[in-house]
Point group: C2
Chain length 243, copies 2
DNA sequence: ACTATAATACTTGTATACAAGTATACTCGT
DNA sequence: ACGAGTATACTTGTATACAAGTATTATAGT
């Protein structure tokens, strides 16, 4: 039984989470990081044993992950789907889709309040960089986009966000951890891009907005490659372990 | 205890559904139809007693409904949010958003297969009209859009569809039942519009597509008004019952 | 050696039991 | 009569138990 005790998901983010949520977050991280390979079938009983909890929270977690398209609930067991490069592009399609929609709504209203909040978050991100806190940086990055999306108070857009957020969060978290110390260029580019985003919102300039989204997309492409490489490396490491 | 035995959701659509799904479908219908008023707090225990099942499937159902934004899971009890006019517009925002996205993808590929499937569904709808089967008509209507959306094989767009579909289905179902026999004009307009949609896809004509979406939107506006009226009537009827 | 059938060891879905926490109501003291 | 504090009747979250169904394995017959 493989019951490792080191968790991938930051425990401080789970302060008021139920066991089910914890398991969901942890499993999500393990799937996205490639630690649990695609194609694996997960059994409720085994997971319950592994995490030392009953089947109830496990079932809950599996339902959540299946909603996020990370696993497929079948007759016997849950088959891990995982994130291929295609799926990461697709999730960013969705973000692009909803953020452009949100932007069109935003520009109709007063944006000073949102801009203020976003600026604050940006400063938090700066501090996170200063203290080399990759997790905090990822958290704030996600919060940045969440703030934009929630600002228009659109229940179904929020719903979509709620469903894509966890995967996005885990993905960004992993990718930030991976090269937070190495690639300072990336970080400053990300910061610049977020500033541009704020500019677009405050000036209500569609051109800048599109430019910002494009840059973000390019960044993500890089992230995808990185994650891909890391997964390759992980599976190679596993291969060697077996030998 | 209000345990009525007449179900709103067609039982034949639940052939292979679990108890949890059944409860979810039924509760969804009761909420959207206005039978369960907004603001009501639902208790797991009471629901379990009412539907003569245990809390497990009830919990499952409530999770589903909370994902669909129909209820809010709070500390004590689940508060019914329901569908206001605003929310119905919002759900159609989402459909518009994803269907335009899908269209852009579709026109890049060969559409003959999809067009074939859609034509078949359209003929099914015609039969449903012939036999005055509102439920079947609603089912095929939803299937029509599902077919379009699934055709591009985009996991996250499919995910969004999966999350909005149930509410959409219930809404269309109720609205069709309400005036399937009265308003033949509406039906022929809906059919015409679906034909237009197929034309747009087969000819890959963006103009026609937009036109079709607009008409559909107008139809919906009508439906919203109808549902609204019906809810008003229902609540009035309840008032009178109490007296 | 191979196929068909039966036994077994899994799987999920539902019901029930229990623990911890929260709101309501009631009682006691003033 | 009224307020503080306790008792009680709820609530959810988790664990466990059980039933029904499915894949696998083993066994028996040819």
């Amino acid at each position: 039984m493989n019951d490792t005790n080191d968790f991938l998901y930051p425990e401080k983010w789970l302060s008021k989470a139920s066991t089910g949520e914890r398991v969901a977050c942890e499993l999500r991280m393990r799937i996205i990081s490639g630690l649990i390979e695609s194609g694996t079938t997960l059994s409720e009983n085994k997971l319950a044993a592994e995490y030392h909890v009953s089947r109830s929270p496990i079932r809950e977690a599996l339902k959540v992950l299946s909603n996020e398209n990370l696993i497929r609930l079948e007759r016997m067991g849950a088959v891990v789907v995982g994130l291929t490069e295609k799926e990461i592009e697709e999730i960013y399609d969705v973000r692009l889709l909803i953020e452009t929609f949100v932007f069109e709504r935003l520009v109709k209203n007063d944006t000073t309040q949102v801009v203020r909040e976003l600026t604050k978050i940006l400063e938090m991100m700066q501090i996170a960089i200063k203290y080399k806190d990759a997790d905090e940086f990822a958290l704030q990055d996600v919060l940045f986009h969440e703030t934009i999306i929630r600002s228009i108070d659109h229940s179904y857009i929020t719903m979509i966000w709620n469903n894509t957020k966890p995967v996005m969060e885990s993905f960004i978290l992993l990718s930030m951890r991976m090269h937070f110390n190495e690639k300072y260029d990336d970080l400053s580019r990300i910061m610049k891009n977020h500033e541009l985003y704020i500019d677009a919102i405050s000036s209500k300039n569609r051109e800048i907005m599109i430019q910002s989204l494009h840059q973000n997309f390019d960044d993500v492409q890089g992230k995808v490659d990185d994650l891909w490489m890391s997964q390759q490396m992980l599976s190679k490491a596993r291969e060697q372990e077996k030998e």
